[in-house]
Point group: C2
Chain length 350, copies 2
Amino acid sequence: MTRQVHIGGVALGGGAPVRIQSMTTTPTSDAEATLAQIARLAEAGCEIVRVAVRDEADARAIRAVKDRSPLPVVADIHFSAKLAVLSVENGADKIRINPGNIGGEAKIKLVADCVRAHHVPVRVGANTGSIEREYFERFGRSARALVESALHGAALLEKYGVEDIVFSVKASSVPLTVEAYTLLAACTDRPLHVGVTEAGTRESGVVKSSVGIGSLLLRGIGDTIRVSLTDDPVEEVYAAKRILRACGLERDFVDVIACPTCGRCEWESMGLAQEVERLTFGAKVRRKIAVMGCVVNGPGEAKDCDLGIAGGRDACVLFKKGEIVRTVPRSEAKEEFLREVRACLEGREE
Amino acid sequence: MTRQVHIGGVALGGGAPVRIQSMTTTPTSDAEATLAQIARLAEAGCEIVRVAVRDEADARAIRAVKDRSPLPVVADIHFSAKLAVLSVENGADKIRINPGNIGGEAKIKLVADCVRAHHVPVRVGANTGSIEREYFERFGRSARALVESALHGAALLEKYGVEDIVFSVKASSVPLTVEAYTLLAACTDRPLHVGVTEAGTRESGVVKSSVGIGSLLLRGIGDTIRVSLTDDPVEEVYAAKRILRACGLERDFVDVIACPTCGRCEWESMGLAQEVERLTFGAKVRRKIAVMGCVVNGPGEAKDCDLGIAGGRDACVLFKKGEIVRTVPRSEAKEEFLREVRACLEGREE
């Protein structure tokens, strides 16, 4: 069990649900564009949003963004204590810095005093690209170097009384990421922000993030997750939701079980499965729905589903909780099943 | 270290590389269509292919498929000892059965005698849908029930001298899948076929399979993997390749590192990253190429890349092994970088 910190109104760690976060791709100084993107991220299920702070205009724009943002806003800062302070003064709910590159002890004290006064937590993020020279020389590009770098960064803040610290130790290598977080989790009870950095385009990035973040979550490691994709950040949120669901960490959603189809499949189950998934992706109810290619294994393999359909040469079989309820002609199967799906979502019998 | 078996000419387990497999969706009796799909699967990187055997026509067609298949062929059989024997007699390189539902001891002996005579391994596959009644009643829908079911199935074959056995214990729940394989790996040294069953459509199925299969591979569990998607099986092979790569189990490929882009990004790195990924996906050389959104973190965060580019407001920076080699105007950056990528693949200097 990790300690708990609060990012605005959102509790992180200490038994709170694993939070989904993402990062805007707009220039933060363009508050309107940033807010429009935040609205889309929130709608998709994002719970915490990070914005890049490149300069004073970005830092000052946090005020306008915060005024209308439905999500707590985290300021992402590199190198500049001044921008860190300015971001917090303009309402940032959390900052992400690397204390090792903020410019020495006096500047760290400046940031520490500011975040303490505003009760704003700090994420200390070590990346394989920003390992402290000392640890890089001693331990190379390793899990140990990442963890020592992060702990050292936190110690600099702790010295000046900062208590609410979140850690991350991301690498673009998945095994290294998993190893680093596993080591880190054994060294600290602070909440962990988990992700694979520079994971790449959607197709490979989703796989890397799923393997890395998923492995850690299944080991009980991770309080907030960020999927990094070179894509629309809304896709990061969808992928993050799917990872939480796969790990059994989101209860209220519709799990669509669909068989891969094989030579036994005698109808077009693929299109229907996709349609059921689209129809149910956003629903916040706990259901399990099966779309199976053939009658032989369908009802049996989907015993614990609230609702299911299995195809056959002439007719499809509808089943509920593993019991066949009726058969329907193939020509009517799709419409009939989608009606049943809607009824199932609403908790009524069709 | 697991024992090794051979599926045709492909070694499985015992230190052999983790093998990618998939399953055709064509009626196996249509040998031409099945062979066309197998050719596409092989081209994508599939190493073992499974075909559904529903009836005698399918079983007999294995002969024609095998004659021209570039991949070893596994016959997928449910309930019928007769079809199992007929498949092996027609050249199947492995069969997948559930000995518990094959129809009693005499029929198991029939199958066992046949596979021993032909030196064909058997996969004993327990699924949450096919747990032996006895174990389901004792242990419910649990990891223990899956594992006991599989071990019991294998014991039926072992009794009649079958030695080459591969196990699978798939569930549609990812945590249950991971728990079951982890338990199984502690109970046996036989090779394991790893997958999440009925994982669903491409988008959620890739995530479920990545989390489940990836977690197991990172724990050293798994000798062959199958990604199950309700989609073109070629997509299963691509996803499987990406999982192996993410887990560090494929050495010779191009790892494209791309940052998620943020408010710091001043050029169109997303499109370029996608193009680089497409261009390099099939290449069998070990390279790491970075496409980074901004100059500030680009070269630093991608220190260990063979080649990289980081964008800026006016010009982009090209780097190799973390050293900046030159800047190029934004208008020429894409073409220039793609030329460098091609040179990098060929191991020559551009």
